[in-house]
Symmetry: C2
DNA sequence: TTATTCATTGAACTAATATTCAGTATAAAT
DNA sequence: ATTTATACTGAATATTAGTTCAATGAATAA
């Protein structure tokens, strides 16, 4: 393995393991030694690649934010269809790649108090709730989505998704719910 | 104030502030000094009342578990009505007493990895998901609740509630969603 | 009134853990 | 072949935060 390859390999290896542990155990509860031990590398090596624990956290958030900001082309006629497709894809992706779910949760948690300011602000730069409320309003106009405060509906929907993701990272063996169950939060009966 | 009163006052004061900070900032991110400072008492005094940070955590979990185990008499004809009434009461209680929401989250989080074993086991001793799945099965029989794996439905419902509670503790000014929106996860259309 | 108990503090102590660093081995460059 | 750069380790160090403790003063009991 060339040095360049080795470097890339280690960087990713550390990043992914940190993501996994940060999400499963919590950021503060994850010791640098936990990451190093579970990768069978020395603590020193970890610091050779990332200058601090917080830097590692920041790198992860940056990657996650970039992924979330990348435009998702979801075509739909009925806004309800948008949310169905979105969840379909999310759930499918999660089944294949557990890190997607982990990233989702890492960013959600980073938005809350207790997170270093710089990281928190970055995490706050994606706001699914607000974006979705626009689409919900469309749905309310054509009558496929419940009436009521669109932002509140969007919040309920996204909080539910988040709650489910939290469960999934805690108990990965658990299967995800039917997409329709969750979309029914929004769907007008 | 008599000494007895003072003692009770301090114990509660410390307990409630710890609950608030543990939930808002996270357990590990909350320093003993954060609690002491925000109550304008010395760190030494805090240790006079609670022998360790973990002890404080444990006391809180015990109180929460006791509250959750206290039988809730909810009368219902249709199981859907049970869940509606339950959420109605929960949301109403939360509007009046923010600590109820905090306690809910404290216990939910304590059930996950990263929590000291003794505390985790205690927290795990209440299992709303399993209890509710029985009631969901009833509802499926009479046709008011969606068909499908009752445990999975119950999980989806409770994870959603948890996600919403998490949001509420992070942003208390946000109003809670309509109960029906969340019950629609279970309701057969 | 005097003695005792206990709420309270601030500083000292300790444990945990993040971070640094000197040294070694190996790959790459000259 | 020699030099240079860098992947890597283990031990040393620094820092943070939990915990202890001796001293003080106020409430209670004698």
């Amino acid at each position: 393995m060339t040095r360049k390859e080795q470097k890339e390999f280690r960087e990713k290896q550390i990043l992914f393991k940190a993501l996994e542990l940060f999400v499963i155990k919590g950021y503060s509860e994850t010791k640098i030694s936990d990451i190093a031990d579970s990768l069978n590398i020395s603590i020193g090596l970890l610091f050779h690649y990332y200058k601090s624990k917080e830097q590692l956290y920041l790198e992860l958030i940056k990657i996650g934010i970039d992924g979330m900001k990348a435009p998702q082309k979801i075509e739909y006629k009925d806004p309800i269809e948008y949310f169905s497709k979105f969840l379909d894809r999310l759930f499918e992706a999660i089944d294949k790649e557990p890190w997607i779910c982990q990233m989702f949760i890492l960013i959600a948690r980073a938005q809350k108090q207790g997170t270093p300011d710089e990281i928190r602000e970055l995490a706050l730069s994606v706001n699914q709730i607000e974006l979705s409320s626009k689409i919900i309003e469309e749905g309310q106009k054509i009558g496929s989505i419940k009436n009521g405060n669109a932002l509140a509906l969007s919040t309920a929907f996204w909080c539910s998704v988040q709650g489910i993701m939290e469960q999934k990272v805690a108990l990965p063996q658990l299967s995800l719910p039917e997409v329709d169950w969750i979309v029914d939060i929004l769907r007008k009966v």
